[in-house]
């Protein structure tokens, strides 16, 4: 096994009493002394600070000097309207493969003369290679080194961060800004992965550590580990790559069609032109045989990843599987997402999950499980 990497905030996590675990090649905090449940609730009520420095930060610049060329080039790898992405705005997307599966999901920001993308930690080297192979002829694609990435999430995030960087108060959901913090460039987006309002902040490692300490001194800010990050994103109905989406799931099966703008669909001005477009565009029109849905188990027993789903309470007709499941601290009930056959995907459909040899009822439910709280 190769040695685990550490983020620039490692010593701070230890100092805060975090329980450190291996995650995507890094030693990361899974929880702090507050514990997963309270960390989760704290983020929904006030503000949580997450170290997401393990994620990949990549800059894409057109060799021609014309930023439009980089935007068009990236469209050859994602089924997303990048050309039409306004300056200093960000959009969610995913890399697809030739079979129409998902290689990774990512955030794409148009920062004027270049694009800034954030990809998942476990996929970042593969993503970098994928981009260099796909658009390296027309673009310089570089992994950003020496910068940490923090996320501050929750209804008090704006109040907390604006004490240090006042201009963040003017940003709206999915806005991107480059602002001064302590004499250095803070790359900020008003986004996150908890279903709450909040910010993601890229800073040189030293400045990131300083910002983290300054935020943690505020009453409303608490450090939050990967455990609560997972329950927050699941309550928010958000996919975790490698679990809810992967190379075998298409964006249409994954119910991520909202991220594929009209201009890239059949009849659109820049129809197709991304890997797997044949399957994905066909599925957009003809539908799919299985679909990602939210599920609310009726009892108190959580249905975990891998739980098999059936149409009946005898385990006769298997119709799907859970890909993420646990307990929702805000909804005070178990919650899950998974794939079910299209004829069982309608909201309100009752299905049965196999838990310890019993077939327990769950209802297909709309997501998010908690209302999103973005500043639009």
């Amino acid at each position: 096994m190769s040695e685990l990497k550490r983020t620039a905030l490692f010593d701070l996590h230890v100092e805060l009493g975090a329980k450190m675990v291996p995650f995507a090649g890094y030693e990361m905090p899974v929880q702090y002394p507050m514990g997963v449940l309270k960390e989760h609730l704290h983020t929904r009520a006030q503000a949580g600070l997450f170290d997401v420095s393990h994620m990949g930060q990549v800059i894409i610049r057109a060799k021609s000097g014309n930023p439009e060329d980089a935007r068009l080039a990236l469209e050859s790898l994602v089924p997303v309207n990048i050309l039409g992405l306004a300056e200093m705005r960000q959009r969610y997307g995913f890399f697809t493969n030739e079979a129409g599966g998902i290689l990774d999901d990512l955030m794409i920001a148009n920062r004027g003369d270049h694009l800034f993308v954030v990809v998942n930690a476990a996929c970042k080297q593969a993503d970098l290679a994928h981009m260099q192979a796909g658009i390296g002829e027309s673009c310089d694609v570089e992994m950003v080194e020496g910068r940490s990435l923090l996320a501050l999430q929750g209804p008090q995030a704006e109040a907390a961060l604006s004490r240090l960087i006042p201009a963040v108060a003017d940003m709206r959901f999915m806005d991107v800004a480059i602002l001064d913090y302590d004499g250095t460039e803070a790359w900020i987006s008003r986004s996150g992965y908890t279903g709450e309002d909040g910010f993601e902040i890229s800073l040189p490692d030293d400045a990131a550590l300083k910002l983290a300490r300054a935020l943690l001194e505020m009453d409303e800010v608490a450090p939050i580990g990967l455990g609560a990050r997972d329950s927050l994103r699941l309550e928010g109905g958000l996919c975790l790559y490698g679990h809810d989406i992967d190379e075998t799931t298409s964006p249409v099966e994954a119910a991520l069609t909202w991220a594929i703008q009209k201009v890239r669909r059949r009849g659109g001005e820049r129809e197709g032109g991304f890997p797997g477009s044949e399957r994905i565009l066909r599925e957009l029109e003809e539908g799919v045989s299985r679909k990602r849905v939210g599920l609310l188990p009726e009892g108190r027993a959580p249905m975990r990843e891998g739980t098999r789903l059936f149409a009946d309470d005898q385990g006769a007709q298997e119709i799907g599987v859970i890909t993420s499941g646990g307990f929702g601290p805000t909804i005070k009930a178990p919650m899950a997402m998974g794939y079910v056959s299209a004829d069982h995907a309608a909201v309100g459909t009752r299905v049965f999950g196999e838990v310890r040899g019993k077939y327990l009822p769950a209802t297909v439910s709309a997501m998010p499980f908690t209302p999103a709280n973005f500043k639009r």
Partner: protein, 119 residues
């Protein structure tokens, strides 16, 4: 008070034994979100899986520490599993059992032996 290697504690109370999980176990499990207890009256053999608990992380089983019969269970921890994290050695006991052979208690760990186990 006696302990098992499975991180349960046993406290004799009249002619029954109260059973719960240790502070060390509660901490290692993380916040509990689900507890399923056996029906009172259930006859159990040592090492039967009689309780299911789930934390924010994963599901675990709790084993019957001795042969006997479950006489009472603590519904309060079913209603609010986080009680187990708050007071594992007190309020948040799991069940009371009538032990078939009380001398079996002597084979369990005493406090010093349990502390050595988790050290």
């Amino acid at each position: 008070m006696k302990y098992t290697e499975e991180h349960e504690w046993l406290r004799p109370e009249g002619d029954v034994v109260v059973v719960g999980i240790t502070e060390h176990a509660a901490e290692a499990l993380g916040d509990l979100v689900f507890v399923e207890l056996p029906e009172p009256g259930t006859k159990v053999s040592k090492d039967d899986e009689i309780v299911v608990i789930e934390s924010v992380k994963a599901a675990s089983d709790i084993l019957a520490p001795l042969d006997g019969e479950i006489v009472e269970v603590n519904e309060a921890i079913v209603e609010d599993p986080t009680l187990v994290n708050q007071d594992p050695m007190g309020e948040a006991w799991f069940f009371k059992m009538k032990v078939d052979d009380p001398s079996q208690m002597d084979d369990l760990l005493d406090e010093a032996a349990y502390k050595a186990l988790i050290a």
